[in-house]
């Protein structure tokens, strides 16, 4: 039997039995949605539809509908893309890296964090797709034999690495998520209380793939999860490294930096954890999971945010130092312009939200407060969006030729698409919270007797 120290804080609160866990996790699926769910859902759906309209307009008229110009030829599209991909990373870190480190607190949050990963990466993928202008030709990015003679994709290009990295990441995340969901769908299928309509029950039966929980099946299940975690761990680091190489392999001052891969990965984990907190703090209330997603879980995540936030701060300072130390005047100007040029406000927001504000988590009272964490997580989300904006737009807007220096201003289409992806993301997440078991109940049951508060007395 697993043993755990008595002084370690419990991960499951209240006097729970295995059956209570089943009931608690099936409740949101079996019950009716409350008022708050409908309000949030309607709001998100409106934003989503607005976003879709803006996307349709872009595809109909062309990329000229955006605020891009000849100098700043990459702006919100790639900013949003990198931001969404980064948000996805926390899900894989929680489900894969923390599994390898045998962190039990991951069990209550991994399901939702992985859902966030999948939905976040889906939003990210929309941006390159729309940016193609003719999304129905998107299959051209894959190396498939074609009728254009010997025209193939270029394997030397980081943009193609991105195609492979993101499609692999998305599909492996989906598989990892689904493998873990099978036993939980089986739990919903087998509920005796029969609150579900027969159609829903059959649907869960279909999705449970006939899972029966035999000893051999569990043995394979654990091994497959472990190996998938082992595969997903280098994958998650490779994905954001490759995203950073979209910039780092170019020769633009401010982008041409070897520090980018680790710096982007850390930033991704940092922003991803912030988004997990934003979502979970709302979700635990809306679907009554207070006993499973406790302040201890939030505190652990805050410690990771503090750690990655500080490392991101070190990366910012290293960048500045290296720009000065390199002696390259273009590099020096790019960074001087970033901090003190016309976009100083974006740089200042980034520094405040990402470096200064997370330092508040050194204070015990703040990192163990739901309200403070929620507010700070929003700041981190904003700060990380600004980080990408700063890296992309400030490096471009004053290029080698001063006569072409200019500023970037987004059109309402740019804003509409970004807001639309936020709406789309929340629509998916809210639907998930009503239709899926939001906590990996099989895993939670396996730690109940070692980490449950009632069994620790």
């Amino acid at each position: 039997m697993q043993k755990e120290s008595k002084i370690r804080d419990p991960l499951i609160l209240g006097n729970k039995t295995y059956h209570d866990i089943t009931r608690d996790i099936a409740r949101p699926v079996e019950g009716k949605a409350n008022k708050y769910w409908w309000i949030l859902f309607s709001l998100a759906a409106v934003l989503m539809l607005w976003g879709f309209a803006c996307m349709a307009y872009t595809i109909g008229t062309g990329i000229g509908a955006w605020g891009l110009n000849r100098t700043v030829n990459w702006a919100w599209d790639i900013t949003n893309f990198v931001w969404w991909i980064g948000i996805g990373h926390a899900g894989t870190l929680i489900s894969a890296v923390l599994l390898l480190f045998r962190q039990k607190w991951r069990m209550a949050i991994n399901r939702s964090a992985e859902a966030m990963t999948i939905f976040g990466v889906a939003q990210a993928a929309l941006f390159p797709l729309i940016h193609m202008g003719r999304p129905w030709l998107a299959y051209w990015v894959f190396p498939i034999p074609n009728q254009f003679g010997s025209l193939w994709v270029n394997f030397n290009s980081p943009l193609l690495w991105d195609v492979f990295a993101i499609s692999t990441y998305f599909s492996v995340s989906c598989v990892f998520w689904y493998i873990g969901l099978i036993p939980d769908f089986a739990m919903l299928r087998d509920r005796i209380d029969k609150k579900l309509s027969p159609m829903k029950k059959n649907l869960y039966g279909l999705m449970a793939f006939g899972w029966s929980g035999k000893a051999k099946h569990w043995q394979r299940f654990e091994e497959v999860c472990l190996v998938l975690a082992g595969l997903a761990t280098p994958l998650v680091f490779s994905v954001h490294s490759i995203v950073s190489m979209d910039f780092a392999t170019s020769i633009i001052p401010g982008w041409h930096t070897t520090i980018f891969p680790p710096y982007f990965v850390l930033g991704a984990l940092f922003s991803g954890f912030a988004m997990v907190e934003t979502l979970l703090i709302i979700m635990r209330k809306v679907v009554n999971m207070e006993a499973y997603i406790t302040i201890k879980h939030i505190e652990y995540m805050n410690v990771i945010i503090l750690f990655t936030g500080s490392l991101v701060g070190v990366a910012y300072i290293t960048e500045l130092f290296m720009a000065w130390y390199s002696g390259v005047e273009f590099e020096q100007y790019a960074f001087l312009n970033r901090a003190t040029g016309p976009y100083w406000w974006a740089y200042a927001s980034m520094m405040t939200c990402n470096v200064v504000i997370p330092q508040l988590y050194w204070i015990y009272k703040i990192r163990t407060s739901f309200v403070a964490t929620f507010i700070l997580s929003i700041f981190v989300n904003i700060g990380m969006w600004f980080e990408r904006f700063v890296i992309i737009v400030t490096s471009l807007h004053r290029d080698f030729l001063p006569s072409s220096w200019t500023m970037f201003s987004p059109t309402f289409i740019d804003i509409g698409i970004f807001v639309g992806t936020i709406g789309f993301f929340f629509v998916l997440f809210l639907l998930y919270a009503r239709a899926f078991p939001v906590i990996a109940q099989a895993e939670i049951k396996s730690i109940l007797k070692s980490s449950g508060s009632e069994y620790k007395k």
């Binding site: 039997m1 030397n156 690495w161 036993p183 899972w211 029966s212 035999k214 000893a215 994958l235």
Partner: protein, 178 residues
Amino acid sequence: MRDKIIHAIFDDEQDVLKVVKELKDNNIVVNEVYSPFPIHGLDPILGLKETRMAITAFIYGCIGLSFGGLLIYYIMISGVGKSWPMNIGGKPNSTFYHNLPSFVPIIFECTVLFAAHLMSITYLIRNNLYPGSKTTSPDPRTTDDKFLVEILYKEDKNNIIGLLEKSNVTEINEKDES
């Protein structure tokens, strides 16, 4: 004579471990254990061999690595590469190894893609999991909070019942009286 079946139902995984060990020590056939979550330490007692899922993942990963390598070799170097000579970053595409550093990301992604997907498919096939497959669990409560031990016997029924009754068993169901 057909084997008869007893289903013993438990509330706690520790009781299952104790009972299965005791039954095995008495040379009684424990056919299967159904549980709502994996019971650690049960596999060696039941006599289950170690699973080879990780080995399949390694093999599939090797296939992915070779696939990625060959794909790029054909497209960039040997086949099509010859008809479109390119020089990217001072590295002419006439040799594979000169260009290898920029091929590493995609070869790596192919390795992971193959290993993860093919292993998961193997897992589903080996466990007979597919949409429309029916559960073989004799009791729906085994995905909720009950642990079911399936025992096969021919005649020494009273001995088995006696052993079970000494444990914390909550239900004993005799399935097949034929």
